[in-house]
Symmetry: C3
Subunit: 272 residues, 3 copies
Amino acid sequence: VTAGAFESAGLITLTTDFGLSDPYAGIVKGRILGRLPAARIVDLSHGMPAGRPDLAGFWLALAWRDFPPGTLHLAVVDPGVGTARGCVLAEAEGRLLLAPDNGLLPEALRDCPAVAWRQLDPGLAARLGLPPPSCTFHGRDLFAPLAAELAATALLPEHFGPLAAPADPAPLPRATRDGDSVLGRVVLADRFGNLITNIGAGSLAGFRQPVVDAGGRAMALLPTYGAADRGAALALVNAFGLLELAVCGGNAAALLGLGEGAPVRVRDGSRA
Amino acid sequence: VTAGAFESAGLITLTTDFGLSDPYAGIVKGRILGRLPAARIVDLSHGMPAGRPDLAGFWLALAWRDFPPGTLHLAVVDPGVGTARGCVLAEAEGRLLLAPDNGLLPEALRDCPAVAWRQLDPGLAARLGLPPPSCTFHGRDLFAPLAAELAATALLPEHFGPLAAPADPAPLPRATRDGDSVLGRVVLADRFGNLITNIGAGSLAGFRQPVVDAGGRAMALLPTYGAADRGAALALVNAFGLLELAVCGGNAAALLGLGEGAPVRVRDGSRA
Amino acid sequence: VTAGAFESAGLITLTTDFGLSDPYAGIVKGRILGRLPAARIVDLSHGMPAGRPDLAGFWLALAWRDFPPGTLHLAVVDPGVGTARGCVLAEAEGRLLLAPDNGLLPEALRDCPAVAWRQLDPGLAARLGLPPPSCTFHGRDLFAPLAAELAATALLPEHFGPLAAPADPAPLPRATRDGDSVLGRVVLADRFGNLITNIGAGSLAGFRQPVVDAGGRAMALLPTYGAADRGAALALVNAFGLLELAVCGGNAAALLGLGEGAPVRVRDGSRA
């Protein structure tokens, strides 16, 4: 099955802030399976921070290429549900990404040079026979059927709507250069309490002996968690190529008292 | 494959209070796949409140029709596991629903006019070759194999057991009319802290200017979250047709200090 | 498809401490599906206690046989990721089990008499065309592709690496006999607050009237939760054949104030 450049693998991932206690994510799957019984649906995560499209986009940026070409990534973190915000479809590197037009996908695709962006044609839902959506659950009423139709190639990306740039209202801050230092921030803490920053490995290349300052503490850059003493704080370049603060065998967010937005500086210890 | 009116799609949903930290839900899936390798198993939710069949039934009522005909919904919230409580199978609108006989399914199907109810034949498990079940995990020992056999149409509903009404020991309260007002209650708070009530949209039809009183606060009825100012409390009719209390961009349960059972009154503001 | 004694069912289970808030588990699935699109992937649990291979092994021991022969169980609880620890493959009863070589699988297979253990050939990853793994996410970089290749039978167990015993650095304590009593410990509390111990049903066989002492309280051995009065503490043999402490309709961990490591004694009340 070919949809222009997109050859669907019938594989749909879900990224939402629905959580897993309530059946919202399951309901979305039901609606997808009703239209595309052969869909293979994979949870990327339903634990995105509530109402934070920017952080969902940050995570999706680190994950979307781990699924094969032909995958459709559906991301619904949608504090503006039921308002006039649009819906956006991105085609990039053989995958489709579908989300509310609230900055989620621009964050997810910030490093991707070639993206074809489309805005949902306001008349498409009716032409597909969808009833008017509720005001509070477009994941069920709009995104699930759109994702199913796209993954089924019953709907081609070029029929989704016109080419148009997405909204990007609140992009996450980027690390900056400050003289000999790099200045960044903690973006989020993961399940282990590891503090992931917005400082990329590339910006560390110039340092002979990088030292990371955060929360009033200086940390050495080590290869991995177990390279530090148990209970010691360290910095490392994580599996996503980002600077991360951690505590060997412990929870850095709790032990260092740091969280989203905390400033992080990298300097060259050989020049101190 | 036809099983009387039930044409199995090989699709089984799971609704439990097992949580996802322990492997209980995974074990149920293993037992299903051992008997029906082609089963497509979807988690509706494993985060139902522990030991509350009534609330699991409430959620299931809002979700079971979102899966296509041919789906079998297995729901195991089972505080009476290992006691003399029975097992019940419901056939409704081309779906099967299977659960302990503790009021879960009557709550789920309360608005469904045509349900065929069956009680598990006490001898069926042995005839299917199942060993005597443990006293604490019938999800694994009894419900998983029964669901697999039903979804495989190796077991037909009419062979499950005799037609018989289910138990309904503790139904959730319904909203009532009180003069010019409607009186209801908060049923539960969802992941976002939105407070879902037992007041249906239909009972709001008569009000020219509905005002919702709860927790000593009067709230306007708005179309969706983003129609209120950020941080403001509001009421809305949610995607399930139920009155819901919310805070724009915030957690209503925490900010309003309300939870299960809190009284909610709807009155006509134009008559005050 | 036959791989020596292992006939793959294309079924892969995942047991990790990744949690479900972050997309780590989803990423592992993406990498598996990229190599084996037909894989059926089932979450056993991603809620294993962080950095505790021993407890993950304990749970896996209770679950791995619930999946049919031909299943590959991938377990990644890996505090030593990026250090010199190896990777181990076990073949037992027609299933494969794959994990870091940190004691997880020896705990999982402690009661299994016939296990073929293999250590990962250090050159295999390169021969499979895998890029050098990151230092912090071998679940994605190493275990996912290895699991996919094994489940695809593109990689046979005998080509995984040489037969060699696994490491077993910190086995969980076993229950012991102390005169007329059995002495054990609480291993963990589950989602319901039920306290699962390391005391097997077999060691209770000799007691005419078993009494369980824990937390300064004496509990009777009852058949199931609902056999006690609501709110009363009890002991039972759970569905895994282990002694468990519970509170009828309540959370034993919270109400008894007990957790991992708490001593539990079983004595014969008829001899007191």
